[in-house]
């Protein structure tokens, strides 16, 4: 019983990370029909930049938002410099390679400048776990699902209640029509990558105190976030959220009851099977192919 509580709690926390990263992919994909393939690096920057700012003497409450903001700006710059020029034609794949390349540069520059060592990202919420019998969780980890809910509501509010959010949905639905009502689709796309960057960097910042900040912390999480988003049917925010959390919890139960070493093999196989069963994604709608 304790174990089950533990798996649920840690699964919820890591699942929230997947969900937030997946939502980042969702936001990028809906606006641009392309993504920053190495989005994990934005996740990493959220944590690493916070450590760097703390090193420079900034207080945590300043360093944290500044790091997220800076990482999101990097994300936006990647859209402008490396996605937009390579996403002009329908079904273009150039962006995949350019974002991989720029991700390589980001990661290796971080390794060279920040060192390959893990670094602590101190947070008062990651010092003393809350114990529930034999299970336990850091308040910091509980912050993640809370943040996820906040982010989800925030996104929902943004998409449905603000003019810019509606404009972003308009761009996602039909770029031409969006332009015809006066929306600058390029700027909205840039903004979308910025927002995605906020999500990714926030996830990195929040989990950083628990898993330490390091230059390679984002690689696997970025990939998993992408797969989760695809499995969910990348065009459905709620689906991405649900799938992300579920995958996190599922991982913990696999670790608990099947195998820790083969967790990824089992998890990914599960994903592949789901994708084959639901080719449009679990929450995706069948798309109509026009002839």
């Amino acid at each position: 019983m304790e174990a089950i509580i533990q798996y649920l709690l840690t699964g919820l926390s890591v699942g929230s990370v997947y969900a937030m990263v997946g939502l980042g992919f969702y936001v990028m994909w809906s606006a641009a029909k392309a993504v920053n393939f190495n989005f994990g690096d934005i996740f990493m920057l959220g944590a690493v930049l916070a450590v760097v700012l703390l090193d420079l003497g900034a207080p945590l409450l300043l360093a944290a938002p500044a790091a997220v903001l800076a990482a999101a700006m990097v994300a936006a710059a990647i859209e402008r410099g490396f996605v937009r020029p390579f996403n002009r034609e329908a079904n273009a794949i150039g962006w995949m390679l350019t974002t991989i390349a720029v991700g390589t540069m980001l990661e290796s520059a971080t390794t060279a400048l920040f060192s390959s060592n893990p670094r602590a990202l101190p947070s008062p919420l990651a010092e003393h776990p809350i114990r529930l019998g034999g299970a336990g969780i850091y308040p910091q980890e509980l912050l993640l699902p809370v943040a996820l809910v906040a982010v989800a509501f925030g996104l929902e509010f943004f998409y449905r209640r603000t003019l810019t959010g509606r404009a972003m949905r308009a761009v996602a639905y039909n770029r031409v029509a969006a332009g015809l009502v006066g929306i600058d689709a390029d700027r909205i796309t840039l903004l979308a990558f910025f927002i995605a960057g906020l999500l990714g960097a926030l996830a990195g910042l929040l989990i950083g105190p628990v898993i330490q900040a390091s230059s390679t912390m984002g690689a696997v999480i970025g990939l998993k976030g992408f797969l989760v988003a695809i499995i969910a049917g990348i065009a459905n925010a709620r689906g991405v959220l649900v799938c992300g959390v579920l995958y996190g919890v599922a991982e913990k139960f696999i670790e608990g009851y099947l195998s820790t070493a083969a967790r990824d093999a089992i998890g990914f196989t599960l994903m592949v099977l789901l994708l084959l069963l639901f080719p449009q994604g679990l929450f995706g709608k069948a798309e109509f192919k026009k002839v």
């Binding site: 304790e2 533990q6 798996y7 060279a112 060192s115 602590a120 299970a135």
Partner: protein
Amino acid sequence: MGRRVRDCGRRAGLGGLLALAAIFSALSPAKAQRAEPCIGASWEVTGPLANQGLMLRIAVETALEKINAAGGVLGRPLRLVVYDDVGEPARAVDNARRIGERDNCVVMFGGARTPNAIALREPLEEMGMPWIGPISAGTTVIEHQNGRNQWMFRVSMKDRWVTGYLVDQAKQRSASGRIAFVYEGTAWGQGALPDVEAAARRAGVTLAGRETFNIGDQDMSAQMIRLRDAGVDTIILWAVDRESANMVRSMDRIGWKPKIVSAWGVTTAFARAIGPLADGIMVAGTFNWNGQLSPEAQAAFDAMKAKYPDRIRSTADLEQPSAMANAWDAVHIIVEALKLAGAYDRTKLRDAMFRVNYTGLVADYRPAFIRDNQERMDAVLAEHYKLQAFHNGMLLPIEATPYGMRN
């Protein structure tokens, strides 16, 4: 049009040829049969373990600088060339070939990864080039299945001995006698498993749990819960800094604090990342820079500090304390061997290695290696191992901490 298409094809084809030609011409042919006064190195320069490579480089470069300042070896300065193997065996072989054939170095250093060392066996034999491992600890690196290791030396720990050492330590410290083994899913971790099992058998200990995890794993609650529920009170750990930190976090989460005796993958960076949770964790090593230093060790540290003032400010900045001492000693053993060999010649160097007697930071190597005794291609013996422990964020000799029951 068709004509033109083919013209373009030709141009492209020629382009390919030119590219190939360019590669070859860039590689100046190695002419001399005799080797050059250089030490090659293939370890990690980039990637998650880049820091290891950097620390080794600091130790080797500093040692070489001192040696060269004193006139070099056989009248010539020795230099270091470093190539990155990004932890990949095929790259390691590329690098070894480059070191042995193009740079024509007299000897090479290897990095931490066991598979990379295994992949080098045959090329080294073919080229006849001695290899020295200052940081790898996998038993099979030196003890080859065929028992015919001729070229691979080590000034480092050996898992077969480390496991015996740690099992003993764990047995003495465990109140319940329930000891578990936790290891990373790499060749180093997996390779230690049979050694640990053998050592446990020898010590009459039944392992109460075996748990593994993958590199990059961020939560080990499942493993820790299983071990806790199995009544384990002491863990033998085979892991590096980041994953160790995550494991200790998982323990803290579930409120479980067993004793941990660890192989030397956990270093200063671990304590820096995890803070007070590191306290009390014991690590087997070959050397500790935070204790009472001999004049030679103090001089070595001062030289590193002087050469790399940005990186090395205090002894705590020597992030691979044991491996750096090993590398320091390895360089000097090579120098001694070269002097005995009397020439920059690989075979002569190899033969001379067995005649080296040298007092280093880690040990009194007398002799450093023994010919036709594969087991003794390792210079550092189990008796040289030193237990250390984290205390107040520092990795200290166990005597300097409140955790020492023995030693």
